[in-house]
Structures are given as structure tokens and as C-alpha cells.
């Protein structure tokens, strides 16, 4: 499955430990310096899709988790999710490297 860029962000936030919706939104927002805001409708559509294809799964709340709301469900990336993300990252890295080569200023201009 090809990942959209928002899929990548969500997967990345679910790699280290389980998070609930609000946690994912906050993590992505702080990581992107506030430029990436996910609204509920959008976020849960992404989660629904990733759940459907098995890249993430519901998870037990982490032990130190806040127990404020029983309606909050936690999600975490599955091994398949990690593998897919790894492939996507490799693809992205190739693009990044190519772009960097081409964007580098022409050599031999030190006068």
C-alpha cells in the first residue's frame, strides 16, 4: 500500500508507544512546529484506513497512562505498519538524495 503523507505522520507518532487521538494530534502538531493540524474527522478517517489494512491496531493503555476518559482508545503501529513505513522511508530517502544532488550549487566556482 502506498502511504499518503498524513499516513506517514500518524504511523511515525505510533512507533514508540501507544497514543490516543488527542495524543496523536498533539504529537504531530508539536513535531511539525504547529504547521500540521489534524481535525477529528480527518484523523479518524486515517485511523480507520490504517486499521482496515492492518498497519496499526488498538492497544492497551500504557501503564503510566492518564485515566481521564474511558472512551479514549489507544493505537499502536503493527509490525506490518513498521515494515510499510520502512519501505516508504527508503523510497523517500532516494527522492531526498536525488533532490539534494540536483539542488547542490555547481562545483569549481571557488575563485
Amino acid at each position: 500500500m502506498r502511504l499518503k503523507s498524513v499516513d506517514v505522520h500518524v504511523l511515525v507518532s505510533l512507533l514508540d508507544h501507544p497514543r490516543h487521538g488527542y495524543g496523536i494530534v498533539k504529537e504531530i502538531r508539536s513535531r511539525s512546529g504547529g504547521s500540521l493540524r489534524l481535525e477529528p474527522g480527518n484523523l479518524y478517517r486515517v485511523l480507520r484506513r490504517l486499521l482496515d489494512v492492518g498497519l496499526i491496531e488498538p492497544s492497551e493503555p500504557p501503564e503510566q497512562g492518564i485515566t481521564d476518559d474511558d472512551r479514549r482508545r489507544y493505537y499502536v503501529a503493527t509490525p506490518a505498519g513498521r515494515a510499510t513505513l520502512r519501505k516508504e522511508i527508503a523510497r523517500m530517502r532516494a527522492v531526498v538524495e536525488l533532490a539534494e544532488t540536483r539542488l547542490r550549487p555547481p562545483v569549481g566556482r571557488d575563485a
Binding site: 488527542y22 481535525e39 477529528p40 474527522g41 478517517r45 480507520r48 472512551r71 479514549r72 482508545r73
Partner: protein, 892 residues
């Protein structure tokens, strides 16, 4: 455990919960609660961070987000679930069941299908006409880039005149907005071959003509740029090529005699190419610049037709702006000819279909009303059936059929009905189109291009679905109404109050629509009658008209032209049955002929031609006035046999007389007209009553009739007043013309009455079709009323029985039923009147001397509608008088 709170959160949360309904149910079940939670968290956070401005930003983002992702998720889920396949599997048995149900009630099915098919057929026919004529582009490549160019003069109230040749020449190549430009002039030519001589409609066209349109000849080649100097070669129309040359490809390269000259045939146009009109038999290459270029005075001769192709990406308004700048410069260079004249640019498509637009749209509206009425009618049939079927439905519900399942079953049944009606409707629509085509009803342009094709079939499919929903709505609501399950216990039949008002409402709708159609038909019938009996200023009955187009090659000089027509008219005047004969270069209400105007001024004025008002010139023989039945208000026709060298004479109409000599008798006075040799004096010999040259709707304009012997014309329209049937004289007249040396054939033999009929063809079309639709709608509405009242009477048999047993009179009961029907009809009539009154102004533009709000028409037709409804009520209440109280009480 406390949840985070912030002001307004409760309301916002409730609103958000409602908005979440945009998402599919499955999504809401899984994530609805979580999404609400997240919404709450973000709300509180936004509030804590930036107060109410943060909250508003959050709400805004959420609304946009939900609007976008809810429907998207619905769509995504739908695709995944392969709903359609599943639906197909479930619908199969439904269709079989629906088919069996409908077959079990053949009377009902046939009535419903026929009723709907009438409405749908008419709608399909009108839709394909509207689509083919008004919507589809003209049959030329990138036809939206084709425009026509005109000259208009606000000061002298001349609008959209064909531009003059010298102006067209100067426009061509002057702006980048126009890729290329072509001009044409419709004329007629005499084709001669092996003793055959026939007069045909033809067009003189610039060599760019076919290139601008983007159509190449099917055989041979297009004109070359340096051809047409000034006339020839020729390109033939497909029908002419088939008829005269038997479709022989060897015709290319042959020469053909046309109006006394020989031209090479270089091409044959493809089948179906008929521009500027279907009558054109051949196109003659023409370099108008070679003809008019050396004559600067022709800059005021505004008569050319033009078609231009806009450059890629140029808008009509841009072209107009650029061309206007060019034209302004021309106005400064040639002020006498061009002052006050502006350029107009219009789409070719609009010009081709302009006159048919209102007619077609109105007919489409009428047809839509008929279809609505048919839907209301069938809805009532279904409602009546639904009450009988309540038992079946309750049984199925009791056996576990869900409401959803029942609804699906009903929908399928209605779809099947509508589909059968759609198939029959296609047949009816096709027949109607053929009829319209055969009758050439309304002389609608592009009718040959109208066909029931893919898009029309698609429309018919949509119509099937839409009508099935429309007529199926009320019955569906009724049949699965919540109280349906109880009905089985009470009785087999239920005429509950809910079903009752639905049925009655639908009857009122039918009566209202029928009244609207009746009023429409009445108005247009009256308008048409007035048009046909309108005083056009002459007496058309019993008059035969035809045209003779002399070859300039076969006649020597102006005097010979006059001599030819004098001799011909004298012979024609002695034919048996002919009372008098005359000729003019153009006839009223006649599309063939050479209709033109020239500037005029009162004697002694120094006005320049560009500033002067114009007068329509008619070149006539002295006998023309009597033959055409025109009425002199003063003076009389000019004398016969005048010489061009003698002082000019003219007969003028009352409008011109009023302009120049208000309140005085103009006979003996002189006016000046800029014609042929510049300004010249013309002495008035008589004043005639105004003639409505372009039909009853036109406004009389200034007219002057000049003596044909003083200004001879090659092509003339002849008028023979007969003592009986003009058609009886046709053959003799045709022979007389052909045997008059040099053997010129006459053409366009037609009675004046037929010319007027052609002129009012669109009105005849509307009057006829509206009458047809109104009659159909009246029958449907009457039948619908009868059915509902009769049903009500049958359902109330028990009640009536009791009342009879208690001493009520049958007549009284019958009267009360009729009264109820009348009340119902009154509601419908009121609605219909509101509809008519709100549409009145739209209709008015198409009516002739008829007020759309004519109280008499409205009153009489409303009363007639009420009478019809009362009769239907009276008839359907008849069973009451035959009711046996005892028997009806014993019945269930």
C-alpha cells in the same frame, strides 16, 4: 472523574454530534465517540490557549473538515462494500415479484403506463428538440467560435443590418480577434441544361466561406483564394448533385450554365451541409470587392451576410471591442456613409435558432405540466390500489418483512411501471418528432439535426427514475404508514383520512395543471386567430404569387427589362380567372425577394445619407397596388410607361406621409431619396394604407413604391389576383412565363394565403400543440376526478346506507358529494390561476394582441373546469341512488 470544561462546550458538542451524521453510520459507530472526545479536547485546549478567538478558529476548521471528510468517507466505504453487486442480487426477485403484481392487474397497469407514456413521450420529443436545436452546437468544427457581424445605428433605429461590402472589406484582416471572415448573399440563379430551365436558390459566397465554417467539399475541392473574379466557379449541394447529375463524380470539371453564364463545377458539399439555409442548391464564388470596390457610394449599401471565425481564445466581447475601434476609424474616414453606425457581433448559433427559442421553451414548459399531471393521475391510481393492498402489506409485515424491504419492493414496482411507460414514451416521442418534421411545424431551424440519440436516451432514463419517484412518493408513504399493520384487524379496505387528503390534493393538482394548460391553449388559439385575421394592409385572399429572375445575359439594357415585364403582365392579365396582375421586387411576408432600404429626406434638406432616416423601397408596376389589394388613402398609382429620364414618382405609405407632411395631403409634394444616382426627387402620386411587410407583429415602417419602368429590376415577384382558387391558375401562369421570350422560368409559385401561413407557422405550431396537450390534460384530470370521487363513494357505501336508512334522500347525498367535488375543484382552479398569473408575463411576448391576464378567458375556462369537475362528481355519485340501504349495511 471530571472532564475538561470550557464555556459553550455543551452547545458546540451537540452541534458537532449533529454534523458527524455526515459520516456513514459504520464510521460513527466505530469512531463517533472518540471523535467527539477529540473535538472536546481540542476545544478546551483552544480556549485555554487563545480564548474565544481560538475557539472560533477551531470551530471553523472543524466545520470545513467535517464537510469535506464525511461525504468522502461515505463514498470510500460504498466503493469498498460492493454494494451494487449485492443490490443486484437482492433486486432480481423484487423485479420478478413486481412484474407478477403488475401482470395480475392488467387494466391498472395499462392505464398507468399509457397515462405516463403520453406525458413522457411529449417530454422526450420536446427535450430532443430543445437539445438538438438550442443546446447542441452547430454542426461545424469549434462552432462556438463562429459569429455574425452586423451594423446598427441607434439614432435612426436601424438594428442589425447586414454590413456594406466596403465596410466588410475594410474589417477583414484589420483585427487579430477575427481569424477569418466570409460574406454571402442569397440570390437565385437559372440553371439551364438540355432544354431544362429551372430557377434555384443559390448563394454568392466569398472564397473563404467554407474555410471559415470549417467544412470541406465531399467531392472535388474548395474555392481557391484567387477565384471568384468576380463570379465562379461553382460548388454544388449534395441534393442538387444527386437530383441533376445522378451523383456522377465526373461532374467535377464540367461547366454548368447558370443565369446565362457558364461556370466550372469544382466541388460537391457533403450530405447535410445546408448553410445558410437548406434551400441553397449551389454556391458561387464571388469577389464582392471586384464588384463594389470601384464604387465608393456603395459603402451605404448594407446588405451582406457575414460569418466570422474568432481567433482561439477570443471572446465575443473582445472581438466586438476590437472591431468597434476599427469601425470608429472608418466612421472618421467616411463620415457621410458611416456616421452613427456601430458594429455588432452575435453568435452564429443564436442567429440560427433565435426565433425558435421562445416557442420551444414554452412548448417544453407545457409538456412538463402535462407530465406532472400524468404523475399526479398515476399517483392517485396507485393510492386507490394501495388501500386495496393494505391487507397484503400488513400480512407481509406480520410475516416479518421490514419497512425497508417493503419500500424497496414498492420502488421496484414503480420503476418497472415508469420503465414500461418510458419505452412506450420513446415510441410516442419519436412519432411526435416525425410528425413535426413532416409538417415542418413551426418552421423550426435545424430540425433535420434533431434525433433520439444517446443523450436523449440518457435523458429518457433519468425521466424514468424521476417520474417513478414523483408518482411513487405518495403511495409509498401511504402504504408503509405506521398504522398500516393495524388495518388488517379492522377491515380489508381502509379509506383512512390520510389517504383521503392525499388523493384529494392530487386531484386538485391535476385540475390546476389542466386549467393552466387550457388557459395557455386558449390564449394561443385566440392569438393565432387574431394573427390570421389581422389586417396586413392588403387583401391576400385569392392571390397567386411567384417570382421571375431575368438573366442579365439574355436581356439588353434597362428598357428591355421594363418591356419584358410589361408584355408578360399583359399576357398574364388576360388568362382566364385572372382579374389583375402586377409586380414588385419584394412582397410582404415573403422570405424570397430583395428587401432593402435607402436614406430619404424632405425636398431641400442637406442631410448626408448617414444621418438621414431610411425608407424601405418597393419597385412596383402600376398594376401591383390593385392586384395585391392595397388601399389608397389619397391619390392613386403612378402612371404606366414612364421613362427613366422623366421626373421620379412615388407612392408612399401613411407612416412616411405622417413623418414628412403631418396633417397634410402629400399628393403632389416631393421628397428626396438616395437611390442609384445619389439624391434624387420623387413626386408623390398617392398614399396607401400601411402594409405590415414582415407580418402582423411587425411595426409599420416608412415605405415608398417607385416606378418599375423608371428603375427597372431584373428579378420581380409577380402577383395575380384571381376570381377563384389561385392554385387553379398556377399551371397556366407557369406556361405563360416560360413561353415569354427569352423563356425564363418562373419559380416559387405560392398563394399569398400560404405565404401568410408560413409567416405564422410558429404560432400555428404552438396553438395546435397546446390545444393537443390541453385536451389530453382535460381528459386525464376529468378521469382522475371521477376515479377519486367514485372511489370515495364506494368506500362510504356503509355510511350512505345508514344515512339512507335514517331517512336521507339519495338526491341530497348525491348533491353533497358533488358539492365536495366542487370545493376540491375550486382549490385546484385557484392554484391553476395563480400559476397562470405568475407565468403571464412570460407568455405575453409570444402572444399577438392578447392579454395573458385576459379576465374573460380566465373566467370562462375556470368555470368550464368547475363544470367538468362537477359533472365528474355527479356521474361518480350516481351509484348512491341505486344503493339498497339494507344490502349496504349487511356488507362487511
Amino acid at each position: 472523574m471530571t472532564r475538561p470544561q470550557a464555556p459553550g462546550l455543551g452547545v458546540a458538542l451537540a452541534a458537532y454530534r449533529a454534523m458527524l451524521r455526515l459520516f456513514p453510520r459504520r464510521f460513527r459507530d466505530s469512531f463517533g465517540g472518540e471523535a467527539e472526545g477529540l473535538f472536546r479536547d481540542l476545544y478546551v485546549e483552544a480556549y485555554q490557549r487563545s480564548g474565544f478567538s481560538g475557539v472560533i478558529a477551531h470551530l471553523g476548521r472543524t466545520v470545513i473538515n467535517t464537510l469535506r471528510h464525511g461525504p468522502a468517507e461515505r463514498w470510500a466505504l460504498r466503493r469498498n462494500r460492493e454494494v451494487y453487486q449485492g443490490l443486484g442480487r437482492r433486486l432480481g426477485p423484487d423485479f420478478r415479484f413486481a412484474w407478477r403484481t403488475l401482470r395480475r392487474a392488467p387494466g391498472f397497469t395499462l392505464t398507468a403506463v399509457l397515462t405516463l407514456a403520453l406525458g413522457m413521450g411529449a417530454t422526450i420529443a420536446l427535450y430532443s428538440m430543445v437539445s438538438g436545436v438550442l443546446v447542441q452546437p452547430l454542426p461545424y468544427p469549434e462552432a462556438d467560435r463562429l459569429v455574425q457581424l452586423w451594423e446598427s445605428n441607434k439614432a435612426t433605429e436601424r438594428s442589425k443590418e447586414g454590413p456594406s461590402p466596403l465596410n466588410v472589406r475594410d474589417w477583414r484582416g484589420s483585427t487579430t480577434a477575427i481569424e477569418d471572415l466570409a460574406a454571402w448573399y442569397l440570390t437565385s440563379g437559372t440553371f439551364r441544361d438540355d432544354g431544362v430551365a429551372e430557377e434555384n436558390r443559390s448563394a454568392q459566397v466569398t472564397t473563404s466561406f467554407f474555410r471559415v465554417l470549417g467544412v470541406a467539399p465531399a467531392l472535388g475541392r474548395d474555392f481557391l483564394d484567387d477565384e471568384g473574379s468576380p463570379y465562379g466557379p461553382l460548388i454544388l449541394s449534395h441534393p442538387f448533385w444527386l437530383r441533376v447529375f445522378g451523383g456522377d463524380p465526373g461532374v467535377i470539371g464540367r461547366t454548368m450554365e447558370l443565369s446565362g453564364a457558364r461556370y466550372e463545377v469544382v466541388g460537391v458539399m457533403p450530405e447535410g451541409f445546408e448553410f445558410p439555409d437548406p434551400g441553397v442548391q449551389y454556391w458561387l464564388a464571388w469577389d464582392f470587392d471586384a464588384v463594389y470596390g470601384p464604387r465608393p457610394e456603395t459603402r451605404t449599401w448594407r446588405f451582406l451576410q457575414t460569418v466570422a471565425r474568432l481567433s482561439l481564445g477570443t471572446r465575443v466581447s473582445d472581438a466586438k471591442a476590437e472591431l468597434s475601434a476599427v469601425h470608429r476609424a472608418l466612421g472618421e474616414r467616411y463620415p457621410d456613409a458611416n456616421r452613427g453606425w456601430e458594429v455588432e457581433v452575435t453568435r452564429l448559433h443564436d442567429e440560427v435558432v433565435s426565433e425558435a427559442r421562445a416557442t420551444l421553451l414554452l412548448a417544453l414548459g407545457a409538456v412538463a405540466a402535462l407530465l406532472l399531471l400524468a404523475c399526479a393521475n398515476v399517483a392517485n391510481l396507485l393510492l386507490a390500489r394501495a388501500s386495496h393492498r393494505t391487507r397484503e402489506v400488513s400480512l407481509r409485515q406480520a410475516l416479518g418483512a421490514g419497512r425497508r424491504q417493503l419500500l424497496r419492493q414498492l420502488t421496484v414496482e414503480h420503476l418497472l411501471l415508469a420503465f414500461m411507460a418510458g419505452v412506450a414514451g420513446l415510441l410516442i416521442g419519436w412519432t411526435l418528432l416525425e410528425l413535426v418534421g413532416v409538417m415542418d411545424a413551426g418552421q423550426i431551424p435545424r430540425l433535420a439535426e434533431v434525433a433520439i440519440d444517446g443523450p436523449v436516451l440518457l435523458f429518457a432514463g433519468g425521466l424514468v427514475v424521476a417520474t417513478s419517484l414523483l408518482f411513487g412518493l405518495a403511495p409509498a408513504v401511504r402504504l408503509i404508514a405506521p398504522d398500516g399493520s393495524r388495518s388488517m384487524l379492522v377491515s380489508g379496505r381502509v379509506a383512512g383520512p390520510a389517504g383521503d387528503w392525499m388523493r384529494k390534493g392530487l386531484v386538485a393538482v391535476q385540475i390546476g395543471l389542466a386549467l393552466a394548460l387550457l388557459v395557455g391553449a386558449g390564449l394561443f388559439a385566440e392569438s393565432f386567430a387574431r394573427l390570421r385575421t389581422a389586417d396586413l394592409g392588403f387583401a391576400p385572399s385569392g392571390v397567386l404569387t411567384f417570382r421571375v429572375s431575368l438573366d442579365s445575359q439574355r436581356i439588353d439594357g434597362q428598357e428591355d427589362i421594363a418591356r419584358y415585364y410589361d408584355a408578360l403582365l399583359e399576357r398574364l392579365g388576360t388568362l382566364p380567372g385572372v382579374v389583375s396582375a402586377g409586380a414588385a421586387q419584394t412582397l410582404p411576408v415573403n422570405p424570397v425577394g430583395n428587401d432593402f432600404s435607402r436614406p430619404y429626406r424632405s425636398a431641400g434638406s442637406t442631410e448626408a445619407p448617414a444621418d438621414a432616416a431610411t425608407v424601405a423601397l418597393r419597385i412596383a408596376t402600376p398594376g401591383y397596388f390593385r392586384a395585391a389589394g392595397m388601399r389608397f388613402l389619397s391619390g392613386g398609382p403612378f402612371p404606366a410607361g414612364l421613362n427613366p429620364s422623366e421626373p421620379g414618382v412615388a407612392v408612399i405609405n401613411e407612416t412616411l406621409a405622417r413623418r414628412l407632411w403631418p396633417g397634410r395631403d402629400p399628393v403632389g409634394e416631393t421628397l428626396e431619396i438616395d437611390f442609384r444616382q445619389g439624391w434624387g426627387p420623387y413626386r408623390v402620386t398617392g398614399v396607401i394604407q400601411d402594409v405590415m411587410h414582415r407580418g402582423a407583429r411587425s411595426v409599420a415602417q416608412e415605405e415608398a413604391y417607385l416606378s418599375h419602368s423608371q428603375s427597372p429590376y431584373l428579378a420581380m415577384s409577380l402577383v395575380l389576383r384571381t376570381s377563384g382558387d389561385p392554385d387553379a391558375v398556377t399551371e397556366e401562369a407557369r406556361r405563360t412565363v416560360l413561353t415569354q421570350p427569352p423563356g425564363q422560368p418562373g419559380h416559387h409559385f405560392v398563394s399569398f394565403d400560404d405565404l401568410i401561413a408560413d409567416n405564422t407557422a410558429a404560432d400555428a405550431f404552438l396553438a395546435l400543440f397546446l390545444a393537443l396537450f390541453a385536451a389530453t390534460s382535460l381528459v386525464l384530470a376529468a378521469a382522475g376526478t371521477y376515479g377519486v370521487v367514485a372511489y370515495g363513494v364506494a368506500a362510504r357505501r356503509r355510511e350512505f346506507g345508514i344515512r339512507l336508512a335514517l331517512g336521507a334522500e339519495a338526491g341530497g347525498l348525491r348533491r353533497s358529494v358533488t358539492r365536495e367535488t366542487l370545493a376540491l375543484a375550486a382549490v385546484g382552479v385557484a392554484g391553476g390561476l395563480v400559476l397562470v398569473l405568475s407565468l403571464g408575463r412570460v407568455l405575453e411576448s409570444l402572444l399577438y394582441q392578447v392579454d395573458a391576464w385576459a379576465p374573460w378567458t380566465l373566467g370562462i375556462l375556470s368555470v368550464a373546469m368547475l363544470v367538468v369537475a362537477a359533472l365528474a362528481g355527479l356521474l361518480s355519485a350516481r351509484p348512491i341512488t341505486r344503493l339498497d340501504p339494507a344490502a349496504s349495511l349487511r356488507a362487511d
